[in-house]
Amino acid sequence: MTAPAVTTAPAPAGGLATLRRLILYVLLFALVVIAASGLSGLLERLFRTASVLVTGIVAGLALSLAFTLIGGPLALLLWWFVWRRLDDESERRAPGWGLYLTGMYAVSLIIATTSLLELAASFIGAHANQWPSPLANGLVWAGIWVWHRWMWKHPRKSPAHLEDVRAVVGSVFGLLLGAGAAIAALGALLDIAIRGFTAAAGFEPWWFDVVRPLIWAAGGAAVWWWHWIRGGGRRFRTGLVDVTIITVGIFAAGITALGGLAVILFILLRLAFDRSDPLNDLLEPLAPAIAAAIVGAIVWRYHRTASAHRSPQTRRASLLVTSAVALAAAASGVGVVVNALLAAAVSPLAGSSTRTLLLGGLSSLVVGSPVWWLAWKPRHQPVSAAEIPPGRRVYLVAFFGVSAVVALVTLLVIGYRVFEFVLGDVSGGSLLDRIRAPFGLLVAAGLVAGYHFGLWRHDRALLAAVPSRRRLIESVTLVSGYPVDAVDPAALARGIADAADGAKVTTWLRADDGGAALSPSSVPLSPVPSPGVEDAIRQVSAALDGVAAPHVLVLAGPGSRMEVIALAATTAADKSGGGSRTRAIPTAG
């Protein structure tokens, strides 16, 4: 009578259609790559004809011809076949089409951009005769990119999935390329400013080394701008975009900026206290470090501001990630300071320079700890359970766990060295020298683990003080008898999951529209209109209140019907004596 149907059941596509699409799109991808490689090979030969004196080997030409003449027509044929079928809505919605378009879009974008930028950069300086290969590659792949962009933006046939993935791929690639090249350009410029022309190659004007990365940086920035600002990548509210902002914009940029700052401080400290190396060598890493600090800070600041306008979770995660990077830098600085202390205690045969090590550790510590202090705010920790933000406990456990693993590994290394010392003929000084690095890490890991363990216990005490809301209901089976257009089953399921503290909700729709024949005793439905989603959720929550069973069956609708049945686990059923409890909720019509 009641044939249940899952609410989100797709049209019966079957494994066969998926397999056909998989093979089709993989084949199309391979054919497009083959045809592109053949075509760019032929173009390169065409561009080189003027400068070639003698041609001998035909293998390359034969391969290019085969790739072009066999791969090209087949790729076009297959594409035409695929494109014609895309009028069908289910083809357009298939994940295979979205995956293919995303993959080929990313590949063509990356190859076309790098080839064209390489071509532009090759015109700077004495790199003549380098242009045919990047020009051929760039032309062919730029064509493929335009072709796939057209398909992406096609009004009727563009895929229904992964719109944000394509935008993110483009913007991340552009951002990484632009930021990396900007660091190189700025570093080259600053290096000439700091160290003078001695280091630059003699036969080129000095600005060649600056302009070449500058071209790459401009290209990367344009790709990023096109996808992120103009293409609206920043306007997507999906989890992927949030994760990208956190990992690339906060995490990677934060590491770059902190690393650059630490090196700057290290070099300044060495200039003041440790002039053991010649000045030119000492200053060599300064310019790239300044560039990395500046570019990293700009990228970090932009994404920090961007994350502030997004969801509170994103804002919170960006703070936690900043705090984690800074803490890792500060903690390893402490480890290196301990390492240097022990190194100074060993009397070496020759050489000294434990000073360099100490100054390096100090600079990491000095750069990392203020950032950690600002991001983590150790003086303003939550004093009540309500103030504990989500994610904080994961962060605490993660740091405690990572430092525990580090401590374990370093303890093993120290134990190995100590036993080697006890059992063999190794001098005491060398024992200290061999364990100083793991010992420093052990001290740092111990400090970090101790602090986070204390916080974790403190949070647990706060949470224990609040009356516990244990999750009693594990899963709810909802049978919705409401008309789908009146009460959205998915919204109802979400509301019930929230009301039952995140229980898993399985939704079934009634196939018979009345259900009167099934339960003649229930309230007559025709005069009672179906409630709205909010009303239905409120009724279910009220009925679930106080139900203490792992599994609950909810019969909701039609009309005002609402029945909550607590189900016993099958193994416990005979013990409790058929213990299912039924509560019919009479609702006022």
């Binding site: 902190l258 690393g259 630490a262 090196v263 290290f266 190396d277 060599e284 890493p285 890792a328 830098a329 390893s332 600085g333 402490v334 290196v336 301990v338 390492n339 240097a340 202390l341 190194a343 100074a344 205690a345 060993v346 009397s347 070496p348 045969l349 020759a350 050489g351 000294s352 320079s353 434990t354 000073r355 360099t356 090590l357 100490l358 390096g360 550790g361 990491s364 510590l365 990392g368 003086r379 004093v383 063999g424 003929d425 190794v426 001098s427 000084g429 060398s430 020298d433 061999r434 690095a437 001290v443 400090l447 101790g450 602090y451 204390g454 916080l455 403190h458 005490a461 003080a465 609040v466």
Partner: protein
Amino acid sequence: MDDPAATERTARKPDRILLVLVGVVAVLVVVALAVVFTRGEPAPLDEASPAGVVQQYSRAVIGDDIPAAETFLTEGARSRCSGSYSGGQRPARVVLISTTERTDSATVRVSIVHAAQGNGPFGPSEYETEDVFLLLKVNGRWMIDQPPYPLMACTQIPVKR
């Protein structure tokens, strides 16, 4: 929640931990600064012992005093010499691990510490390798017959490359 004193206690607890940790880090930094900056030259060993010869030789190599270093090499070592170590900078430190002394020969194991250039956010990196010096007794004096590759130094120009 009912007992404000208890809440107050739990609220203050991490502050105390934080204070202790900050104190530990500060003490470590101060002690390290004091020890490292007051430390003088490495203590000289007995110049007649194999370890003492290795010490003088290593000191000369790290100080780029090739002629002085060559006086500690045997004839064979000097003739086998194929130029100085060209793999970048000299080691930062040489630490004695053990000495094995026989009647006419000795083996000195050392740990050679290199300082890696550059500095990431996670502190500077050092790496160490272990290697051995082979020494021979020539005319009652310990001479180095085979120095480890990173500490190779001589002025001899090889005859053919």
